[in-house]
Amino acid sequence: MHEGCVMNQGGNTQTVAPLDPNPIEKRYGVEGSQVQTSPYQYSTGSDAASWTTHSVDNQVVQQNGNYSNSNYYHPQPPVPATGNVQETSSSTSGTVNVAQDYSAYTPYQTPSDLQNYSNTGYTNYYSGCYQQQQPSQPYTQPVGAYQNTGAPYSSFQNPGSYAGTASYSGTYYNPADYQTTTGGYQSTAYNSQTAGGYVNQTPTSSNQGNYTSNPYQNYTPDAANIHSATTATATPVHYQQNYQQWPGYYSQTEVPCAPGTENLPATSAFSQSFPVAGGVASEMPASNGQPAPSYAQNWRQETDSSQPPPQQPAAAVSASNNAYWMHQTPSQQAHYPVPPQNHYQSPLETKPLYETPIQGHQRATYPQELNSQASIHQAPLGYRQPTQTTPSVDTQRVSKIQIPTNPRIASNLPSGYTKMNKERSPAGATQTPAYVSVSMSNPKGHTSAMPEPGTFPKALCGFVERAFARCKDDKEKASCQAALKKIITQATNDGTINTRDWDIEPLSTVLNTDVTNTESSSAPISSLQNKSPTRRPKSRWEPIVESKPFVKPASTFTSGVKFGGWNHPNVNNKKSSETFQKVDAVTGSKPTYFAQNSAKKSFQRPVKRQRFAGGAIDDEESSDSEKELTPYYSSAMSLASSADEKKRRDSRSKRFEKVQGHSRGNDIPKPKISNVRRGTALRLGEVLDESCGSRAVEDMDWDALTVKGTCQEIEKRYLRLTSAPDPTTVRPEDVLEKALSMVQDSPKNYLYKCDQLKSIRQDLTVQRIHNHLTAKVYETHARFALEAGDLTEYNQCLSQLKILYAEGIEGCTLEFAAYSLLYITLHSNNNRELLSSMSRLSKEAKGDEAVRHALSVRAAVTSGNYVMFFRLYKTAPNMNSCLMDLYVEKMRYKAVTFISRSCRPSIPVSYLAQVLGFAGTSSEGTGEKENDGMEECSEWLKAHGASLIADSNGDMVLDTKASSTSLFMPEPEDAVAHGDRYLDVNDFFTRT
């Protein structure tokens, strides 16, 4: 992590320096020469390190390896790139007569863009090998962001390579993310790819917006498709090609950096893209409660280093994407459908965003080669549209990701804090239009759009971007805009606009002002939200819940602020940039977008996650908390109606606020207080960060960051955390106790209980409560899971319980010892495991009834004594019989094969029914007291291929000789292709 930080800083410094003095060309040439600066050294060192680690990773971890490979080879994919890419390249190249650089650049761009990773990977690679600073720096930034994200998820950080691989870490972690995301995600990725193959990618990627689009597709698809393809081809060659291309690339990238007039447009465009992201991002900050400054920094880094503004975003995106996935997938495990929505959310919105980055690119190119400009312009237009949709998604992700990072990075910010606000305003005014244009998809006015492009330093633009990125809403935007205006005008008046270090300027000032603003306006906002609960599409799982009006807590941090100006920008945009992108955006992008959507949609619907969502069906009265989830479900619902998208998105972005809203009832937890506390926690983190440059995540003082909950609601839906927990939504221990007993007494079904218990577990974990209550919760959950046959959940609980028991926490140790014994004998069937768990039993344990029962079940199973087994089945204490259910089928089958082989000439079915546990266990046993189980037994026998005949007395008997060869184990009816029948919601419902 720290390396990442260091690098970032280095990057900043560097970028700052280049901004003012260096003419663009110089910079180009410099590539090699720039090395001297201190930042450079950092980057190289880190890069090299990362490189090595990377290679190691490849060897050791195959998955990682794949990913990394993909990064490597990405460049190649461009070759295969389909029509879009070619188009772009050809058009650009044709138009551009420019220097080699340029030509190189164009091809490069398309490919590179297509594969975000590739760029990053390459840059790293090159930086390592060739010692080119620039590439490495952009890279580092993403890393930093990534790392930050990692912080909350300690697991990710752990991987050893982390420290070393500043640049790589982003990519490196991807695999991890990827893994975590599970099948659903993969499938989607694959879909898009497989369906379109490269086609999908290319459209998106061909546009420069590619970063965003690419990253997303990249990980999975690239890893799979690209990787294979690329690997086949000779890598070295590619590298060289890439290398050659680099100069062009650099030139391009650097252009934005150059302080010249043209820079502004580029930056502005760049910034524009951000706001969109910001919209998405805003969700996170709000929920996280992390201070704005940190966020700002992230951006700053990117922008600063922005040598290749387009690229940086890409890099960031890629990193962020991964992170994004991490966040989302985990959080949404239950609600799988959601993630897709985010992507698709609002095609309109996303498009604009996307386009802006592209524009930035073009502008960048302009300065370099004036001749080619005109032609270039047009060419880019063509591509842009396809990419747009994806990019937006990416940006969103990016923003989200970065937020988590903030705490670390943010440490620097405080100093710059106050400055920020003042300088903003002019830029804000100008920039906002740019932003608007993006959203509207009329890019034409690009150049024209920026009235005084030359005047603003790039960093400032970045700053503004950042500010907007944080805005969730139109209102927020508006307020933010105003604040920015103020700042910037002031700065211009002061004459500090060019001298100020905008990168360091904390956004918080802007945001703070916003906060106050929003506070005043919060009521109206909330009312707005409340007005139309119906607009939120209802998920098919969930009954529509009337959203209760609530007063948004003022303290919601950034969230309130962000409401600002979504719409406003749009209006502005129209003026400025309409001509340019309009056509493309409308025509090209949409089709691709939808196609992707549909493909992904179909995939992402998969059932598994929904089972929890499905639980909602049962709890009609579930409290407000459900409302939070509605957006999730809704997202799953309909990507189709894009009109609703935005609203939905808004609602989604507000879900965290809503959560906070729940706490309105209780006076104790003033959100502000919580925020303050969180703030302190964050600050603490910062301090830690600063004090120990290379401290690893593991060394963080998590105690200081532990949350103390203040929520008084007893019922709470489970929602996987995507950010630091908010104390106002976390229930303290006494409430949790009540919640537990509520769940225990609840008449609702397992899905509901599971959901509730999971949320209880989450609250316990977040508050690091490790006591008898924790054990009790896990025990309860394990029992419910057993009852419902949910072995996955049961296993999770059991492994936690083992840890708890090992810590000496009291609980039903023996009961669960029996369960685990049974589980091993009946399910995992591992001799060694069985032996070790048997040898661990204490004398006292062996005296326990449940344990003794489990042991005799084991004996019966190992010897095949079916009579004993079914007797034990009937006398099982606790939930032992639930576990024995796992083996009943097998045991019966075994028994019948034994019998049909050994007994002659026949054996009465009634005897079998009695011996094999059919008697008395019948489901309709309520009617007749003694059920002989004959019918069930004979049906079971028939289903297994036994031949039944009537003997002389007319009794049904099993013809053993005939049966001995005809017996078979039928395919389980509920078997599903993916092997886990619990994945099917409907099955699950019928069984519970």
């Binding site: 001799n831 032996l835 010897s863 009579v867 034994f898 011996v915």
Partner: protein, 413 residues
Amino acid sequence: MAYVSMGEAHRRITEYLNRFCDAVSYQDSSMLCRLLSFSSNSPSLLSLADALNVFQDASSLIRQSDKFSEYGEILAHLFRSLQSYRVGNLVEAYLAFEKFANAFVQEFRNWESAWALEALYVVCYEVRILAEKADKELTSNGKSPEKLKAAGSLLMKVFGVLAGKGPKRVGALYVTCQLFKTYFKLGTVNLCRSVIRSIETARIFDFEEFPRRDKVTYMYYTGRLEVFNENFPAADTKLSYALQHCNPKRERNIRMILKYLIPVKLSLGVIPKDELLQKYNLHEYMNVVQALRKGDLRLLRHALQEHEDRFLRSGVYLVLEKLELQVYQRLMKKIYIIQKLSDPARAHQLKLEVIAKALRWLEIDMDLDEVECIMTILIYKNLVKGYLAHKSKVVVLSKQDPFPKLNGKPVGS
């Protein structure tokens, strides 16, 4: 610790350094072994350790001369490890030793011939032993023991160095055995599989060319693995190989092998002589064998209960438990023989009632259903030939060889 003067310390350290460098340059493997073997607690090493603790700046000594500094990294880590070892700080000692081992292996890789193989063995052995000790220290401090695991991965690395072609390959089996020991201790036996595969599939090197000592150890451990998998014939061959090639004077080793070989043989129907059990002090198996001979189910159960902990720990419990079926067979045979004495014509009909009564005499209470269940299993597993007439509750035995012997084949085959 005896007082050591500064000069004396200096002398000892330089002497050690000289010896080390000489051993390397003359390729004197045995000397090198002596210089590295911590666990021998040899007086010269101990005195060196004392000297090192007095003369804190040993690294400057190493740096002084080109001769020493060539192996500076190796020696520096070694010294640090020795220091900590002497002071009793085993975790530190392990960590330093691990670094030393890494450096040494790196150096070893550069030596073309395999002259230092013995020294490498010592290093591998010491790493494992030190790790075990360090883990003990860690657990006593309430920390999680993880050093042995680290040693495992280090050994795996060494294995990678040796496993290629060339003269060094002979050493691969030794490292494999050290790995086995590590993994068995850690309980991560499944990790053995990859090593085994690379040993058994490699055609470059004939297994017989490995040193005998390593072959025996290897066969012992792989045989144990087969016992876990209840693959008795394979376990039998491996353990028998180990037994045959084991040095007959090493009674402890023979006993270790027999501990697994006897249950394996028993489940293949081969019963050892009592003298064997007595000679190698395997009394825990006495009653088991006796029960098998007599068909005394009660005795078997008692024996299992009596030594349950031991059997569970060594992992033969489940194997022995499965002998029950053979005991039943023996019991049936006894009943059959008795019946034959009284009424040869109807001897082949065993009434379930009679069997239940016999079991009751053994203080084992079973009703007819259960007895019937046992009989179906026996017939199914081919321990009894015949069929069961459910209606009349009689087992009808085949007239030819009603109780087939296993003859080295596992039950149920």
